[in-house]
């Protein structure tokens, strides 16, 4: 048996990881990123002569749960046609058995990088509203994202916001009416709780896997998701993540747990919106993303927000900020009148 050098072993690993696109319309260009379950490459669609992003499972699994999850991600994306959600173009199986899908190649920056270039809080809030718009659309179509975080949001070169990586997305029941939609444990192949005594289910993974791994991102994951309470997750779980995201946009810290001395100043109304969205108990949060977005919009318009009961002085201050121009105009007019009267009577 031939001895393989360390270098040969590494080359074999790398070579085996490269997806085999033989027989497809795509030509591999370069590796772009690695996600939780796969790798994203830039590829060229030779038929349409355009660049696409090709997501493929890494070398791990040509079959099984991960493949199902990638397919599900593609199917979820396909039903969410929205300018704020990256569109999927194609899904299939490569010659080596790995499942892949292609999507729009987004040229831009991740939100955490982009936000460094945005100084204005107003601009950041407008950015946040565009994220809410996409997430609200997904919720309206019965899909929870469950992994909203800056790294999963791209801002394109024309300022367009795209919510990416729907690999943890969960379908919600359609029959819940006006109540918050409840996650259907049977909706996602990956999240069926194993049936007792069924050995074939030993590999199915719930949000809390057999090894206690919770899927999601600390800091942005709701407490109920962190507990693995899959069956009771609803839109408010994503609202928690949006609250953390809003706080990140405003303070660069998702959970607001910085040292009091270093804590950046946050307007009381904004603080209240963040706290209400990311409240530990789901019932204390906004009941829907449009409600959260409405509060942020009201703040931007200088109106009272639902999350914060204002004192008289705060109301006065807000009134002043909202009508500052007119107030200053009237004040200037009055000062002028007083001055005119003063000089006329000298």
């Amino acid at each position: 048996m031939k001895f393989l050098s360390d270098k040969a072993v590494e080359r074999l690993r790398e070579g085996a990881e490269i997806p085999d696109l033989t027989g497809t319309r795509y030509r591999l260009l370069e590796r772009v990123a690695r996600g939780g379950m796969g790798v994203v490459y830039a590829a060229e669609d030779e038929k349409l002569q355009r660049r696409v992003a090709l997501k493929v499972l890494d070398g791990s699994s040509a079959d099984g749960d991960l493949a199902n999850r990638l397919i599900r991600e593609a199917l979820v994306l396909a039903r969410l046609e929205h300018p704020g959600i990256v569109p999927v173009h194609d899904v299939g199986t490569l010659g080596d058995g790995r499942v892949f899908y292609t999507m729009k190649f987004v040229q831009g920056q991740r939100l955490d990088q982009y936000v460094e270039t945005v100084r204005s809080a107003t601009e950041r809030l407008r950015l946040f509203l565009r994220i809410c718009d996409a997430v609200a659309f997904a919720h309206a179509h019965g899909v929870l994202h469950r992994d909203l975080k800056p790294a999963n949001i791209m801002v394109g070169s024309f300022g367009e916001v795209l919510v990416m990586d729907w690999g943890l997305a969960k379908l919600l029941r359609e029959d819940v009416g006006r109540q918050p939609r409840i996650a259907d444990p049977d909706a996602t192949v990956f999240e069926k709780p194993p049936k007792a005594g069924d050995p074939t289910n030993s590999t199915t993974s719930t949000v809390v896997t057999g090894h206690g791994t919770v899927m999601g991102t600390p800091g942005y994951m709701s407490p109920e998701q962190a507990r693995g309470d899959v069956e009771h997750l609803d839109a408010r779980s994503d609202i928690f993540s949006l609250g953390a995201l809003l706080r990140f946009l405003l303070t660069k810290n998702p959970d607001g747990a910085t040292n009091a001395a270093e804590k950046p100043h946050l307007d009381k109304a904004l603080e209240a919106i963040c706290s209400k969205a990311a409240a530990p108990a789901p019932e204390d949060r906004y009941s829907s993303v449009p409600d959260l977005a409405l509060d942020v919009s009201r703040y931007l318009d200088g109106l009272a927000v639902a999350a914060h009961r204002e004192s008289f002085l705060e109301k006065l201050g807000r009134f002043y900020r909202r009508y500052r121009f007119f107030i200053l105009l009237i004040a200037a007019y009055l000062v002028m009148r007083v001055l005119i009267l003063f000089f006329m009577h000298r």
């Binding site: 048996m1 031939k2 001895f3 393989l4 360390d6 040969a8 072993v9 080359r11 074999l12 690993r13 790398e14 070579g15 085996a16 990881e17 490269i18 085999d20 033989t22 690695r34 790798v39 890494d58 070398g59 791990s60 699994s61 040509a62 079959d63 099984g64 749960d65 991960l66 493949a67 199902n68 397919i71 599900r72 199917l75 899904v91 199986t93 010659g95 080596d96 058995g97 790995r98 499942v99 192949v189 030993s202 590999t203 057999g210």
Partner: protein, 253 residues
């Protein structure tokens, strides 16, 4: 398109091998023997090298202990005791090796063994050569337990890939695709950084696209074979998924 329409991998590939952990419990004696042979083929080199380094044994004693360990696996049914829920088969075997060597020391009953693992040729001379300077090692140069664990992992991966490369060679020969294997060997196994597809195309008097296609095919087959062997050497499907991720590029990168 729905999930049922997808048959990832489909029936393109031969059926996957059964895990050695299950196969050693089989009622079929032939299957049991095959399982042990597979286990021995994949693990004897890492175990031999590990004993040499971790236990600082001379070559002859390490050879004896390596063979003795596989006899122990067979006689004491060590694989039957493995619980896939508690960890990886590889880690379990390494712990068993430590325990075996330690017990052998205590009992002072080292003896010549090897009759039952004679089906797998254990080329200790080659393993010793691969180990390089280990013969001249001194106790101070022995790595820490963590790095020994890493060493064992690395040697295990090398062993797995070596077996897969050999199987790929046979596969290519059986399908009259020797040239594809030679290209694979030249580029992926021996290739230095400056070697290019164009250079290979020139060397073999073929088009560059032929080199691309041959290498893509060989890598695909190599990956399939390596994954198939890996599946055989894991205790459960879940372990296989985790191992495969770590083996083919997951690994936290």
């Amino acid at each position: 398109m729905n999930e049922e329409e997808f048959q990832p991998g489909g029936d393109r590939f031969p059926p996957t091998r059964r895990s050695v952990v299950e196969a050693v419990g089989s009622a079929d004696a032939e299957e049991r023997e095959r399982a042990l042979e597979s286990l021995c083929a994949a693990y004897w080199r890492p175990i031999y090298k590990y004993i040499r380094l971790r236990w600082n044994r001379p070559a002859e004693a390490a050879q004896d202990l390596t063979q003795g360990f596989f006899v122990e696996v067979l006689e004491r049914g060590l694989l039957k005791r493995f619980d896939a829920k508690k960890g990886r088969l590889r880690t379990y075997l390494r712990v068993c090796v430590d325990s075996f060597v330690s017990n052998e020391d205590k009992a002072g009953r080292r003896q010549k063994r090897g009759g039952n693992v004679a089906h797998v040729a254990l080329d200790f001379a080659a393993a010793e050569e691969e180990l390089g300077g280990a013969r001249r090692m001194d106790p101070a140069a022995i790595p820490s337990p963590e790095s020994l664990e890493e060493f064992f992992e690395k040697e295990w991966l090398r062993s797995l890939f070596s077996l897969a490369v050999e199987e790929l060679r046979e596969f290519c020969n059986a399908r009259q695709r020797e040239r594809a294997f030679r290209l694979f060997e030249a580029y992926d196994l021996e290739g230095h950084d400056k070697i290019t597809y164009e250079q290979l195309a020139k060397d073999y008097s073929i088009a560059t696209t032929d080199v691309t296609n041959s290498l893509a095919w060989a890598r695909r087959e190599f990956r399939r074979i390596a994954l198939d062997r890996l599946r055989e050497l894991c205790g459960s499907e879940e372990e296989f998924q985790r191992e495969a991720r770590a083996t083919f590029g997951g690994n936290g990168r």
